[in-house]
């Protein structure tokens, strides 16, 4: 779990999820939950705005752009995202991380 997790107090409904963000060596969850059926574009827009202003565990970066970041889990079969809760993480989860493909692309 990210270091700012204990600061997260807002209860999460069944139709919501946490958004975990990695940026400039920091890793933290957005304090506010997001809709579990959010699109990648929506999630990246919310994440970019949050990083630009900063939040617990994530220093503000007014120049942040998330062009080369991706959302996990990827869009796939219905019901495959967000990541389901686990024993140590009792909530659904999206994660934003850098893309890692090399070569001619996918």
């Amino acid at each position: 779990m990210p270091e700012n997790n204990e600061a997260l107090v807002r209860a999460i409904r069944d139709d919501e999820a946490r958004l975990n963000i990695t940026w400039k060596g920091n890793n933290a969850d957005l304090p506010d939950p997001v809709s579990a059926d959010a699109t990648d574009e929506q999630l990246k827009t919310w994440a970019q705005e949050a990083i630009r202003y900063g939040f617990p565990g994530m220093p503000a970066d007014p120049q942040a752009n998330l062009l080369d970041m991706v959302i996990d889990p990827p869009v796939g079969a219905p019901g495959t995202r967000p990541f389901p809760p686990t024993d140590i993480r009792p909530y659904r989860l999206f994660q934003l991380r850098p893309k890692t493909p090399f070569g001619l692309g996918e």
Partner: protein, 130 residues
């Protein structure tokens, strides 16, 4: 030939080999494992990442390579050395700025340099069947 990669630490020490089952002769697909088990796990130790390209001659980064270099550096919050190898040449790609995708490419044959990861990276790249 199948592309492969390796996370490189200080003094060229190989830290994490990357040869996923879905690699091809011209690409290494996006990999959650490479980010979390590689770049993020070893973020305090890594100096760069090396990957292979098909064929011989001086290799150049693709657009996909450059945007991945930039994304990973933004995720980690620091710059890395990006090595690309062919069968007989090596390129070192580094950010020079000022733009997000302004990287320079320097080539050499590898002669006179010691790359502890080079022989194995060529082995798992060019001795693999596509």
């Amino acid at each position: 030939m199948m592309e492969a990669g390796v996370l490189v630490g200080e003094e060229g020490k190989p830290l994490y080999w990357h040869s996923p089952p879905n690699r091809t002769s011209v690409s290494l697909p996006d990999s959650r494992d490479l980010w979390w088990d590689g770049f993020w796990k070893f973020r305090d130790e890594i100096s760069g990442f090396a990957h292979s390209h098909p064929g011989s001659g001086d290799p150049y980064p693709s657009n996909e390579d450059i945007t991945t270099f930039s994304g990973v550096e933004l995720g980690l919050g620091r710059r890395l050395e990006w090595w690309i190898i062919s069968r007989d040449s090596i390129a070192l790609v580094t950010w020079v700025g000022p733009g997000q995708y302004d990287y320079q490419v320097e080539h050499n044959s590898g002669e006179g340099f010691i790359f502890p990861w080079l022989d194995k990276l060529r082995e798992i790249s060019y001795n693999s069947q596509s």
